[in-house]
């Protein structure tokens, strides 16, 4: 019986061998904690897989049986609309059984620690846990104690790997490549986990990355990432192929980092005047939620260069790719 199954496998896998795509066909880790853990080839594998996953969303029946019988828990300690629904839809399209646990309305609200919550969830044997937490390193900590595969859906101000993957995927889809493109990332450089993940990903794939923001929100030593750092928006967007705006986190802004939101918009808000300085094929990105009139003018956000909603659509395909690729890497123990 098992001999037959092996023969079958060997027959089917000749297709995969002959596909002639990227240099790798598998991810090394069973977790996705940080973009820093991924090689350029692994990122390309995720993009190529996401390319194929995208088509599933256009079918009459938007579901494939790939993750049938797998259980995925979405553990969200921070409010999230986009990321959580995106993961949930991705899980459902792959036929995984998924459930979401949010901090409010669960034992977290009663004071249970992250590790205790995780250990209790583990006892119910989920195959993967998608976690968002306010503390940097939360996903890493779970990966050390859990048998389940861990996907970091944002940890404090550290990383948000699937956001960077969907941004990179969107750039590649729109511009055909990433290598050599000038990418300007503008906004709150201090608190942004999207920034950190994107710098790592874009540099791994050979982009020329510029970051721009007020000096009060410019982390010391950011140039050690090998990016161009400037406080002059015009310099950042000049000839840019991609402009990525970061959200100004209003809750952290009371008078300390930025005198007023209006002043911020005057100096760092993206307007049509800036877009005209960029490359004629520039694309404007934003991870959401947008503050119109703070970091981005409405006419830009809704303009022809904006790919904001495309990013959201691509997010589902990219998360399907990540779930699918990680599901094949079971615990080593």
């Amino acid at each position: 019986m098992s001999g037959t199954a092996d023969t079958q496998r060997a027959t089917l896998s000749t297709d995969a061998v002959d596909a002639g795509r990227g240099a790798v066909t598998t991810l090394r880790s069973r977790h996705l904690l940080s973009i820093a853990d991924l090689s350029a080839d692994e990122i390309t594998l995720i993009f190529d897989t996401a390319d194929a996953m995208k088509e599933i969303g256009s079918r009459p029946i938007k579901k494939v049986p790939a993750l049938r019988g797998k259980t995925v828990v979405n553990l969200f300690y921070e409010p999230s609309t986009r990321t959580r629904t995106s993961f949930e839809i991705a899980e459902k399209r792959l036929s995984a059984d998924s459930l979401s646990v949010t901090a409010t309305g669960s034992s977290v609200a009663k004071g249970e620690t992250l590790l205790d919550t995780a250990r209790n969830l583990e006892a119910m044997a989920p195959d993967m846990i998608v976690v968002r937490h306010t503390a940097s390193g939360a996903a890493h900590q779970l990966a050390r104690v859990c048998r389940a595969g861990i996907i970091n859906a944002g940890d404090g101000s550290h990383e948000h790997p699937t956001q960077a993957l969907l941004d990179g995927f969107t750039i590649r889809a729109r511009r055909g490549r990433i290598r050599g493109l000038k990418v300007a990332i503008v906004g709150d450089l201090m608190h942004s986990r999207v920034l950190r993940s994107n710098i790592l990903l874009l540099q791994a794939l050979g982009a020329d990355v510029w970051v721009c923001g007020p000096s009060t929100l410019m982390p010391a030593g950011i140039d050690r990432f090998g990016v161009h750092a400037t406080t002059v928006l015009d310099d950042a967007v000049d000839g840019a192929d991609v402009i990525m705006m970061l959200r100004i986190q209003r809750e952290r802004m009371h008078g300390y980092f930025v005198p007023s939101l209006r002043e911020y918009f005057t100096i760092f808000g993206l307007t049509m005047a800036h877009v005209r300085r960029a490359s004629p094929e520039v694309i404007i990105m934003h991870p959401g939620p947008m503050n119109r009139g703070v970091e981005i003018a409405s006419e830009v956000a809704d303009g022809p260069c904006s790919v904001v909603l495309e990013q959201v659509a691509n997010g589902v395909a990219v998360r399907m790719a990540v779930l699918y690729l990680l599901a094949g890497n079971p615990a080593q123990v």
Partner: protein, 180 residues
């Protein structure tokens, strides 16, 4: 490794199958071809070209990747996930007669996966199966409607269909396990 079908033979076989398709589906104006990646898709495109010559009208042609429907997908104890590639069926399959194309028919599991995948795209009026080579050893109750060549084989052997577009030459070869 013995060659069981050369380029010329392969071309004449596909011509014969194209004629069989047109004969069996006479008067059918809702015909469409779907090839299973990778080599089934190549063969499907060649059949489509031959059918244009025979019918005088083009037949919608699509490509199916069955990876996500495989029954062994999450069963490997270790090892990489198979690559997922593009499925492109740029037409509605509802009420069409779908001619499903694969290179080698063996256990039947690929075809089972392809049938499940196709049904997710709609409700075809009928599905017919074409294979270039039927090598036997079915594990599921599946039978081809059109067969290029019946090839008795042992489990230890492997049958490879090579096509110019992917492999640089048209050939069907049979290999013993030692060589594979």
């Amino acid at each position: 490794m013995p060659v069981v079908m050369d380029a010329d033979r392969m071309d004449r076989t596909l011509t014969r199958i194209a004629h069989e398709i047109s004969e069996r589906n006479r008067g059918e104006d809702q015909l469409a071809i779907v090839g299973i990646r990778t080599r089934g898709a190549v063969i499907a495109r060649r059949l489509a070209a031959k059918l244009v010559a025979i019918l005088g009208t083009s037949v919608p042609t699509g490509t199916l990747d069955i990876t996500l429907y495989r029954d062994d997908l999450m069963r490997q104890p270790v090892g990489p996930q198979p690559l997922v590639r593009h499925t492109e069926i740029p037409f509605s399959i509802d009420d069409k007669t779908i001619v499903l194309v694969d290179d080698v028919l063996y256990t039947g599991r690929t075809i089972r996966a392809a049938l499940d995948a196709l049904i997710d795209f709609g409700r075809p009026r009928a599905i017919q199966l074409i294979v270039l080579v039927d090598r036997g050893h079915r594990e599921l109750p599946i039978k081809a409607d059109y067969v290029g060549k019946n090839l008795p084989t042992s489990f230890a052997q492997s049958v490879r269909v090579l096509v110019h577009e992917v492999d640089g030459r048209d050939e069907v070869v049979i290999e013993d396990a030692d060589h594979a």
